[in-house]
């Protein structure tokens, strides 16, 4: 089945539903090491994304992701807004004006998203951030979109789980020093949730 702008928009909408369903979980995770706003902010941002896509769906997959990016940057604030906004913006740029998403474009988009987040947030693997989930996800390979996203989602969740013992070196959790160890990073978890939602959408 071709993956056109409508399919990508549907995947984004299902990701928005996932964020809503996991809002409280992300709030709890962020309360442990930060200020507890991650679930609320992402849910608020994806609420605006949902409203924008329900009004009209842009013509290409890249344009859909660009709309996600600009909405998150404009509406979320905090660190999550610019970081996820940059991720979607770079992914959108990687897709160009292709009318359909392909496996090759998807791989390029994932890698572009990672390099965008690293450039903006300056975090490295092991800093206990979303980069720990996105880095292994960007290495995912496969012959179909569904295969790649399934592998990316699994890698992202494993990456997120690996943040538990880490001491945070970036973001608000870094203020806790050693006390940040023993907690799952909320940004890594939300990255895994988003990729898992995309994978589910690709498999249906």
């Amino acid at each position: 089945m071709p993956c056109d702008a409508k399919s990508v928009a549907a995947a984004v909408l299902s990701a928005a539903d996932t964020i809503t369903a996991h809002r409280d979980e992300l709030v709890r995770l962020d309360q442990a090491v930060g200020d507890g706003d991650h679930g609320e902010n992402l849910n608020r941002g994806f609420g605006f994304v949902r409203a924008a896509l329900e009004k009209s769906i842009p013509d290409t997959p890249g344009a859909v992701l660009k709309l996600v990016a600009t909405t998150l940057i404009a509406k979320v604030g905090g660190a999550a807004g610019p970081l996820y906004g940059t991720a979607f913006l770079r992914a959108a740029t990687a897709l160009g004006d292709a009318s359909e998403l392909t496996a090759d474009l998807l791989v390029a988009a994932l890698r572009a998203a990672l390099s965008g987040v690293v450039a903006r947030g300056k975090a490295e693997p092991g800093d206990k951030t979303m980069v720990d989930a996105l880095t292994p996800a960007a290495d995912a390979t496969g012959t179909t979109i569904a295969d790649i996203l399934t592998a990316a989602a699994a890698a992202a969740q494993a990456g997120a789980d690996s943040t538990v013992p880490l001491v945070a070196r970036k973001g608000r959790a870094s203020y806790l020093g050693e006390r940040s160890a023993g907690h799952l990073d909320p940004g890594a978890r939300s990255t895994a949730l988003l990729l898992n939602a995309f994978a589910k959408a690709a498999n249906t």
Binding site: G77, G78, A79, G121, Y175, R179
Partner: protein, 333 residues
């Protein structure tokens, strides 16, 4: 959660509406995006001083908009930095053609959003500079943290730089001055209770009846360590010692002492703590020449306090004393 609110999602907008009504003589409030702007802005030829950050720290920043301090403030969601479009909107309403100075507290989100806004503004031809405030000695400033947080010192930077801009100082002077104040300011805070973020509904952390959190920030994030509750003398010493040794402040230094409530600590306790701090500094031969006591950089209803010391010189004293007329700080005007 018991709070005087309607819908948690509407807290910031409704509070801004109230701020605008209460202080219509000093400022105007814009919505979508949310900005607080000095009523007589833009002032042609004056450097515009703009700050902003998450809400929940009132009166920071909106309460410091007015003559002799901020030209505009960008209030984000509770404990969440503002977005680039808010910052751009604020700047466009106050830019008087002499340049814009952004005063930014050092948090990952604030840095990212102000950085994005500054890039966009520069692309539009606005002469925009950014000074980052990072006065919190509780955080080790190293490669292994996001760097020191901007806390109580923010109000001192905004007052002093605002005074200079009001006098007609140019953008270079204002920027340099902001860096001087940041370089000479150190803070440390502690908490007895945690704040409850409206959209979360329960306290950000829990403390036993005999515990306190030391080295806290202003967002309900846990502090550096948890300690047995001390008395006021012990608490003040626990805040002062790391501040004094960090700059370091030494005998004969002239300083401004800012004793800040985190929102839930009453003035009775705050003045008690201030007295202990001022006397302790006097015993060390440090000259407390200016003082500020009150809830100015808060963390919702958190009980707790912070101390901020600023090393003064004649220029800083003069600018501190200069007239200011804002909702939260007013003298000489």
């Amino acid at each position: 959660m018991k709070k005087i609110i309607n819908e948690p999602a509407d807290v910031v907008v409704e509070a801004l509406r109230g701020l605008g009504l209460a202080h219509a003589d000093l400022l105007r409030v814009g919505f979508d995006p949310e900005v607080v702007v000095r009523v007589d802005a833009p002032r042609p030829g004056k450097v515009a001083v703009v700050s902003g950050g998450g809400s929940g720290h009132e009166p920071l920043h909106g309460g410091f908009v007015g003559r002799g301090m901020l030209d505009a403030a960008c209030p984000g969601a509770v404990f969440t930095s503002p977005t680039p479009d808010q910052i751009q909107a604020a700047v466009s309403q106050v830019d008087g053609g002499a340049g814009v100075l952004l005063l930014v507290k050092n948090y990952t989100g604030d840095i990212l959003n102000f950085e994005t806004a500054a890039e966009l503004l520069a692309a539009e031809g606005v002469d925009v500079r950014t000074v980052v405030i990072d006065d919190d000695v509780a955080v080790q400033d190293s490669l292994y943290t996001a760097g020191r947080r901007g806390v109580g010192g923010t109000v001192l930077v905004e007052k002093i730089v605002g005074a200079a801009a009001e006098e007609g100082a140019g953008l270079d002077v204002c920027e340099r001055l902001a860096r001087v104040v940041v370089a000479n300011t150190r803070s440390m805070g502690m908490a007895l209770t945690a704040p409850t973020v409206p959209h979360v509904g329960d306290p950000s952390f829990t403390l036993g009846a005999d515990e306190m959190e030391v080295g806290i920030g202003i967002h309900g994030e846990p502090g550096r360590r948890r300690e047995p509750l001390a008395d006021a003398t012990g608490i003040v010493a626990g805040l002062l010692d790391p501040i004094l040794s960090d700059l370091p402040f030494t005998v004969e230094d002239r300083i401004l002492l800012f004793t800040n409530s985190m929102g839930g600590t009453p003035l009775l306790e705050l003045y008690l703590a201030h007295g202990i701090a001022e006397e302790a500094l006097a015993r060390k031969g440090i000259r407390v020449e200016r003082k500020l006591v009150g809830p100015y950089v808060t963390s919702l209803e958190m009980q707790g306090m912070s101390l901020t010391l600023l090393r003064l010189d004649d220029e800083l004293v003069r600018l501190w004393d200069a007239p200011v007329h804002t909702p939260a700080l007013r003298w000489g005007a």
